[in-house]
Symmetry: C2
Subunit: 334 residues, 2 copies
């Protein structure tokens, strides 16, 4: 009998996540029931949304992870045993497999992925949840028109880097906001952004006035806080503000800082709307075909930041909040 | 030669407006130039937006009132002399006539009003700017469907009382938020709101959970601050949040308190959009015909709070912010 190494949520984090918020347990693997599959997890996706799942909050789109439960995470893995006619041993799947070596799953919501088409981490990035978020959040909610100025925060992150490139492919002028000279250089020189702003060294509101002199038509926000306020102060008439996330606020021990400049929605006749990727799962093939074709044509670049070893989960997850990750953050388990 | 009593903006108010922020001047009336009309102002509209016009802010939809200039206000009056072929002496007009006894105007943006159709103050309320704001803000931006739960803040105010009644006429369940037992009673007993919440005595978030158990489909906000946050915490899936104003924030000496719960836009796939009445002036006849017909059929009730005497302008204006007004606040000049 194999044992399964798992990160269980031991207590609700206060502020930044600590190793002591988890128990790194070793649990014997039980036998499969009828309809279940056993999956060996190979890559765990580390996403900002996981921080919210650790809170006791009742007003969210998913129930919180219960104390003592395996930490929820999207991951890819290989089916090693199946009592479900829909899945065969050897197939690769993605889904909510959790931060653990092995997952026992009933198959609901599992997607098969083909490792011959792309490296497995890509199914956690551009061809996975962040890809769908970027594609539909930008095109469906943001609705950029050719010639529009699109600004994206968290621009070097898993979602942001895709948003900027898709916007460019659709004929927009793209300005990214990211932390540090390396990321700024990467956005402009590697990804072809028209401009990028280092929020760690620049006055973001002033830099936006400079780089978006006619105002921002679409602002895609992954960050919240002062960066959202700087963008709101620079909207164009009729702007669309896409709320995708607020990573600057997720570790708050006090209330989220709401956007002080929200009355610019009135002055600029602008719209602020949330995007929730789950609403677009039924349209996933459309996005994945488009993204896949762009990647094959070298029009869309992706970068995965793969960290080895399940045991580093708490410290690796923290990179999302310090901005230490370069691209889509993935934990490689095997 | 007649002298003209005028309120000139003497300095930019800090916090609540003081009498000393204005000079109550007496200025000789000059002769009309070709194309101008002389209007004797009869009723001045007192609107929350005027507080914003007093600030030096550069990021607004109108330039600020300059120091030394007549305080900007919508008003109605009677043409007493005309050198403009579009207007004849004796006609009544509404427009940006200012807080003064007489206005000299070139006619651009002036609208004729017929005092035989309705009492003059009504052209500053339901048949004027607040009426258009309520009608288009609710129907165009909020888009209530039959059976929706519509919540409006500042519900006993000029705009809010209309929003709630129009929403009822369109088949929605309507909950008002207002300050004090008198206003709450007025909303439910006089205007037919399904429920009303006294924000001065109730826990608004808890009361909204009670009165909107399936969540708020349309929130029409005139208030901002903690009331906006309470509404955001109670949105239904796909809700529309209409930002019309933020009277709780206009006298702030510090930054506007942004809505801490704005990430509910994401959780609830909701939209927050500003409404600016100027965008709808070209569609004014549609609203005024609808409102006029409802008023004649006794389906829409209006209440004007008319205060006598131009000289009380600063103290009367302050009623908007203390909530001491009962209905559309109007200063009667003659």
């Amino acid at each position: 009998m194999t044992s399964n190494r798992q990160f269980l949520l031991a207590r609700r984090p206060v502020g930044a996540v600590q190793r002591s918020d988890f128990e790194f347990a070793s649990t014997p693997l039980r036998a499969l029931a009828e309809g279940e599959v056993l999956i060996q997890v190979s890559h765990v996706s580390l996403d900002p949304a996981m921080r919210g799942w650790m809170n006791a909050s009742t007003e969210s789109y998913m129930p919180p992870v219960a104390l003592g439960e395996v930490m929820r995470a999207i991951a890819v893995g290989r089916v090693v045993e199946s009592r479900n006619p829909g899945f065969a041993a050897g197939e690769h799947v993605s889904g909510l497999l959790g931060v653990q070596e092995y997952a026992i799953h009933n198959g609901a919501g599992l997607n098969k992925v083909d490792p011959a088409l792309a490296p497995l981490p890509l199914f956690l990035g551009a061809l996975g949840m962040p890809g769908l978020t970027a594609y539909f959040g930008l095109l469906d909610v943001g609705q950029p028109k050719e010639g529009d100025t699109v600004v994206v925060s968290g621009a070097a992150g898993a979602v942001g880097a895709l948003v900027g490139q898709i916007a460019r492919l659709k004929g927009a002028r793209v300005v990214g906001i990211a932390g540090g000279a390396d990321k700024v250089r990467y956005l402009v020189e590697e990804l072809g952004f028209d401009a990028a702003i280092d929020y760690k060294s620049a006055d973001v509101a002033a830099a936006l006035r400079q780089h978006a002199p006619k105002g921002i038509d679409v602002f895609f926000d992954n960050v919240g806080g002062t960066i959202l306020d700087a963008a709101l102060a620079n909207l164009a008439h009729g702007a669309r503000v896409v709320i995708c996330g607020a990573i600057s606020q997720y570790n708050n021990t006090q209330a989220v800082a709401g956007p002080s400049n929200y009355l610019q929605l009135l002055v600029k006749r602008a719209t602020m709307r949330g995007v929730m990727v789950a609403d677009y799962y039924h349209r996933a093939p459309e996005a994945i075909m488009a993204m896949g074709a762009w990647i094959q044509a070298c029009k869309l670049k992706t970068r995965e930041h793969v960290v080895q070893g399940l045991d580093s989960f708490p410290e690796t997850f923290a990179k999302l909040f310090s901005g230490a990750n370069q691209g889509k953050l993935v934990l490689q388990v095997v």
